[in-house]
């Protein structure tokens, strides 16, 4: 099998316009004959489901949460990028495109990123029209802030709740379509398999999380917008329910999984407080606009932050990256924090933390202005830590936040399985090896509002398919397999809880495949993960029954998938003998400790094809060809 990214010809700036013209259309009266299943109702899923229904397609939408409004896009705090150039500070579509490619350390597909930058301006128009209450200036026009990895102010925001407001906009558009009967919504429903008929994705198997009932759903195409796999590390900023199940099971059905090793560690999270920690909380990167990051110059400095005089503080980001300072990209800031903590200069419990200090900002613009900008973040910090960040600096530490890898998709967002489309964080396409802040919201909405609605029509118009029915043999076979898996999980009845396995997996992944990786550690993981998986299937204890609301059983299914998927992630990290973006291999670094790419050998997308249980997956390579940009060494100095 070979990968065809289907990148349109012509100059970069005209590819999308030309492609939109070249794609086949489904006429308005025929659209109602096509049914689409959309899995996940975050920014990508909700915007896609609403937009497809508006066009006239029949849509079924699924989410595991009790309401589509609760998908984890809701937790994004800081903002959404768009090349509006409202600030007249030199922004343009090209600059947003270039910043994103460069921020991704030249490991993203050029044509997709350019399209993302192009449609970014439409997203803001769309959201404002929906009533998203973006921040505004006194003159009534939209306000902007700046974010990491950019030297212009292009980030739109709604206090510290931008993701919430954008998601509610998409959720409301989706709700309108549900009310009109154009979308049938299935909340508290988890996808447990993807069904292929004649090699095309034609439906799903779902489990009702209240009754435990398994059901089959057929359609003409399946859209996965199921988010990332950060919870493979157990502790992350993802919601507790976030999982890899839909994308991993799609991979097992034939969809290639691309760049799983590209995981993003967010530099500004609240440090771990103890063994009971169930998740980590991010403090928006926008805080770095006004906060200054520092640690004591002395090792093991036990003094309170206020007692450490200015000259004994190391503002290490400002020192090492003078032109970007505290706004250096996420991967660079995260590693810098790890470095100073490894040197023994960390602060707080366990010395795994650095200060994010607002004293200068409060002096400059006043506490009121700081409160206006970040009030809810300071409140959240105080709730969790019991400390007042207006009086003493916040303590922060990096945590797993986002996964750039995902199912491989072509320019039309279709995976290697025809009819299976993948949107948002669940695909791999736009962020390369590192995502810039305020770009996830942009990508989710770009895919859902402005890309998929065009490309899915092209698929329907080009591939004449027979209608699938949920009582077909393929669905029955998948149902039998799903039910057998559930029975197997409940039958083990061992001595260890599901959570203990998840935690152990997460700890080993964070230690050996987190912020820094090396060959020996990765090889060790390739021994340990299968062993842990084996123990899981011999010794896990899952409470309760199948035909009921059983959260422990839900968790068990997700952990079983993480235990398989983790191995692929590690294999990908081991195969990529270079450092790039969020993938930092300690063997490959420059003299001053920066990531050292190997463009000659690794300028490709690594897409892994499942080949069967216990077998090494097959590696497919999509070479990254840059027509427009020159691959340079990223420098934020």
């Amino acid at each position: 099998m070979t990968l065809d990214a289907k990148i349109p010809g012509g100059p970069l700036a005209q590819k999308w316009d030309q492609h939109r013209f070249d794609m086949k259309l489904v006429n308005p009266a025929n659209k109602r004959k096509f049914d689409v299943i959309v899995v996940g109702t975050g920014l990508a899923g909700a915007s896609a489901a609403a937009s497809l229904a508006e066009l006239g397609y029949g849509v079924k939408a699924f989410c595991y949460q009790d309401s589509p409004r609760r998908a984890h896009s809701i937790a994004a705090q800081g903002g959404i990028n768009a090349a509006k150039n409202y600030q007249n500070d030199g922004d343009s579509i090209y600059r947003l495109f270039y910043d994103t490619i460069k921020g991704g350390d030249f490991r993203a597909r050029e044509a997709n990123v350019y399209r993302l930058a192009q449609v970014s301006v439409n997203i803001i128009d769309q959201c404002v029209a929906q009533g998203v209450p973006f921040a505004r200036e006194y003159g009534g026009l939209l306000a902007n802030r700046s974010f990491g990895g950019a030297q212009v102010s292009r980030t739109f925001y709604a206090r510290g709740q931008t993701g919430q407001q954008l998601l509610l906009g998409a959720y409301q558009a989706l709700s309108r379509q549900i009310g009109l009967g154009k979308v049938k919504m299935f909340p508290r429903t988890e996808i447990v398999d993807i069904v292929l008929v004649n090699g095309h994705a034609k439906g799903i198997i779902a489990r009702d999380l209240v009754t435990g009932a398994i059901s089959s759903h057929a359609a003409d195409a399946v859209v996965l917008a199921t988010g990332g796999y950060g919870n493979v590390f157990y502790l992350s900023t993802n919601a507790k329910g976030c999982n890899v199940t839909a994308t991993w099971r799609a991979c097992k059905r034939g969809a290639a999984f691309a760049n799983p090793c590209y995981t993003q560690i967010h530099p500004t999270c609240i440090p771990v407080s103890g063994d009971h920690q169930s998740k980590l909380t991010l403090m928006s990167e926008s805080l770095r606009n006004d906060g200054r990051v520092w640690v004591p110059k002395k090792k093991n400095d036990q003094r309170a932050p206020g007692e450490i005089p200015e000259e004994e503080r190391d503002y290490y980001l400002e020192r090492k990256y003078p032109s970007f300072g505290n706004l250096a990209p996420r991967d660079i800031s995260s590693r810098a924090a790890k470095e100073v903590c490894d040197e023994g200069r960390g602060v707080g419990p366990g010395a795994r933390g650095v200060y994010l200090d607002f004293a200068d900002a409060i002096k400059r613009i006043g506490e009121g202005a700081v409160r206006e900008r970040y009030g809810n973040l300071f409140d959240m910090y105080e709730k969790i830590t019991g400390e007042n960040a207006y009086e003493r600096p916040m303590r922060i530490y990096p945590a797993v936040h986002y996964t750039m890898g995902g199912l491989w998709v072509d320019y039309n967002l279709m995976s290697t399985v025809p009819g299976l489309f993948v949107l948002g964080e669940a695909n791999f396409s736009d962020h390369g090896a590192n995502r810039l802040g305020a770009s996830a919201l942009m990508q989710g909405l770009a895919d859902g509002y402005f890309v998929l609605p065009y490309t899915i029509g092209h698929y329907f118009a080009s591939e004449k398919q027979v209608k699938a029915r949920p009582d077909q043999a393929e669905f029955k076979k998948a149902t039998v397999e799903v039910e057998a898996l559930t029975r197997k999980l409940l039958a083990v009845n061992g001595r260890r809880t599901v959570n203990s396995f998840h935690k152990e997996l997460g700890m080993m992944m964070w230690e050996k495949c987190g912020m820094a990786r090396n060959q020996a550690g990765l090889k060790e993981l390739l021994q340990k993960i299968p062993a842990l998986r084996e123990e899981f299937w011999k010794n896990v204890k899952v409470a309760g029954q199948d035909q009921e609301l059983n959260q422990n059983l839900e968790h068990a299914g997700r952990v079983a998938d993480f235990l398989e998927f983790a191995e692929l992630l590690v294999l990908d990290a081991l195969e990529r003998n270079e450092s790039c973006g969020g993938h930092f291999r300690t063997e490959y670094q420059t003299d001053d400790g920066e990531a050292k790419r190997d463009d000659e050998h690794y300028a490709y997308v690594a897409a892994w094809q499942y080949t069967g249980p216990g077998q090494r997956p097959a590696l497919l390579k999509e070479p990254l060809v840059y027509e427009e940009v020159h691959m340079s060494t990223r420098s934020y100095k």
């Binding site: 984890h72 939209l142 609301l549």
Partner: protein, 257 residues
């Protein structure tokens, strides 16, 4: 610290429930309330008992999933805080804590502390949106919005739809929730056009779902994790009154159009 928990256990929507007593030992002050329950659940599973079912997801106070009454107070009584953000430093050794699900006819219990809040979604489906399709929208800066109006809209839009307002109200009224969406959209020029139809349709579905009327006692505002103001209920009443006076009749049973 060591705590005694009295937790509502109910197998499913049809079964009867009851309070069961559990001991939570060695609880640390840095734990969140839900992490304390996680630890209790791990013990229960290890002992071969059924863990306590409760809803949670983001665990950072924004998704609105977590929902429980703690000693009779929705989300536990710390101002502006969801239960996932409530930490054990607010409790003391030896405390007895009673944990129950939201109690409202419109929110039936599904299991233990898990309730069905889909009535909220149906209310939004009836009109909690601006009727614009994707594409073809004017430039975002084409229509200036005063900062005051934008801020007011944001204050209302901050609602996370958790349902604490309903759980706290002796009438199980959803008016704080509904008024937050009505006020958010009516405060902005983009939502102004449909404001009459919106409020009439949403209130209709709210009533049909079995939520009671506002008591004006403010218990909803007191427990709201996003501190949504009671003023929005007043705004909704004004919007509703004006819409009624203009004698607009929504089409029966046709939510959403």
């Amino acid at each position: 610290m060591n705590l005694t928990l009295k937790v509502w256990r109910q197998k499913d929507a049809r079964s009867e429930g009851r309070l069961e007593t559990y001991q939570a030992a060695n609880v640390l002050t840095d734990m969140s309330f839900l992490e304390m329950l996680d630890v209790v659940n791990e013990d229960l599973i290890a002992k071969g008992q059924e863990p306590i079912a409760f809803d949670s997801d983001c665990r950072e106070g924004i998704c609105g999933t977590c929902s429980m009454m703690i000693n009779g107070v929705a989300h536990g009584g710390l101002r502006g805080t969801t239960v996932c953000q409530l930490h054990m430093r607010h409790f003391k050794d030896g405390d007895t804590i009673v944990i129950e699900p939201w109690r409202a006819r419109a929110f039936p219990v599904l299991r233990d502390l898990v309730t069905d809040r889909s009535a909220f979604d149906r209310i939004i489906q009836a009109g909690g949106f601006v009727s614009v399709n994707t594409g073809g929208t004017p430039d975002a800066n084409a229509l200036p919005v005063g900062k005051m109006e934008a801020d007011r809209a944001m204050d209302a839009a901050a609602c996370i739809g958790c349902g604490a307002c309903v759980a706290a109200c002796k009438n199980a009224s959803a008016m704080l929730f509904v008024s937050a969406k009505v006020s958010h959209l009516a405060s902005l020029p983009q939502g102004y056009v449909e404001r009459e139809r919106r409020v009439l349709n949403m209130v209709k579905v709210m009533d049909e779902a079995g939520f009671g009327n506002c008591t004006v006692t403010g218990s909803c505002e007191a427990v709201c994790p996003k501190e949504i103001s009671l003023d929005f209920i007043a705004q909704m009443n004004r919007e509703y009154g004006k819409a009624l006076l203009r004698n607009y009749t929504p089409r029966a049973g046709k939510g959403g159009d």
